[in-house]
């Protein structure tokens, strides 16, 4: 059982192995947050490493005002957004692009691809604006609450709720068309 208070205390007293346990505990969370914003696998790896180095350096300032997972997710989110600002300043990820993802296919090859609904959904999610992708992942995959997502992303809880609703409705409508043609 991972006791975050105990582990943090151990790390603060210089137990480096305790930090290794922390990395193992939260590496998936960090990868999830980062890859919802950054697509290149090697960049995901590099940014995730950087996130844990920041966590290590800043752990002294962590005072359990939130869950450790929320705090780490916040660092991951900010680091990935900083990366995008620095290296992809002209990206159009905040504009809804889901309508550009094709829902109906006509060639046999495309029909074959269509048989995997999970792949299709991933493609649809990838075409959503960054903010939608992040809140979907934090809410559904990581099971953070609205207020925790607010702490992580800095978006007001109402905005988080609104983005979640709109993203799910967009995806549901696409899924309906997809299944009709399946």
């Amino acid at each position: 059982m991972f006791d975050e208070r105990q582990v943090v205390q151990q790390i603060k007293t210089g137990d480096i192995q305790a930090f290794s346990a922390l990395v193992k505990q939260y590496e998936k969370l960090v990868f999830h947050v980062v890859q919802r914003l950054v697509s290149a696998p090697q960049d995901v790896e590099d940014i995730s490493q950087e996130v844990f180095i920041k966590v290590y350096k800043r752990l002294d300032s962590f005072a359990f005002e939130s869950k450790l997972a929320t705090w780490i997710a916040r660092i991951a989110y900010v680091t990935a957004v900083d990366y995008l600002r620095k290296f992809q300043p002209n990206r159009t990820g905040w504009e809804p692009a889901v309508d550009q993802v094709p829902c109906t296919y006509h060639t046999p090859e495309e029909v074959l691809i269509q048989t995997d609904v999970t792949l299709y959904m991933q493609k649809l999610i990838d075409s959503l604006p960054e903010s939608y992708r992040v809140v979907l992942t934090l809410y559904h995959l990581e099971e953070f609450s609205y207020s925790e997502i607010e702490q992580i992303t800095g978006m007001p809880a109402g905005t988080v709720r609104n983005y979640l609703f709109r993203a799910r409705k967009l995806l549901k409508d696409k899924l309906a068309i997809y299944l009709k043609h399946d």
Partner: protein
């Protein structure tokens, strides 16, 4: 009775509730679509950390904690330079007028002071441009040292 909106259906599912018994076929159909979507959103993402990920992070932290040898090198360089200067001054002391000669050399350079300043500034500008151009040509984020061959991720 009014049809349930998308928002209401989403809220019911979020709360783990089922649709009312009086729900229409269309509402049930919508709820089923949302249920399927919620299940898809729980699917694992394609890029996962491999077994060595924590090891690579720990290596970077250990490397960052190791004392850097660069300041020490500068220290030794400074100490060597100071010793040379002191030795030079010491050697010149017995020879009367040697220090004056040295000052005369500096004085003779006085008419060329702006040329000297220009040369030094040009060198600094070239160095700065070199640094900037190299930085831009890399064009991608590379945080810290690149790990030799273990940077793969499991798909």
């Amino acid at each position: 009775m009014a049809q349930l909106t998308d928002e209401q259906i989403q809220q019911l599912l979020e709360a783990g509730l089922s649709l009312p018994d009086t729900s229409s076929g269309a509402e049930i159909n919508q709820a089923q679509l949302y249920q399927r979507l919620f299940a898809e959103l729980k699917q694992e993402l394609p890029i996962s950390p491999d077994a060595d990920f924590s090891g690579r992070v720990m290596n970077r932290i250990e490397a960052a904690k190791a004392p850097s040898t660069v300041p020490l090198s500068y220290g030794w360089f400074g100490a060597g330079l100071a010793i040379c200067l002191l030795a030079g001054l010491f050697m010149m002391t017995p020879f009367r007028g040697a220090a004056t000669d040295l000052l005369n050399v500096f004085a003779s350079l006085k008419p060329f002071k702006w040329e000297l300043v220009f040369s030094i500034v040009s060198l600094l500008v070239v160095q700065w441009l070199d640094l900037k151009l190299i930085g831009k040509s890399s064009g991608r984020l590379r945080i810290g040292p690149r790990w030799p061959t273990t940077g793969q991720v499991v798909k």
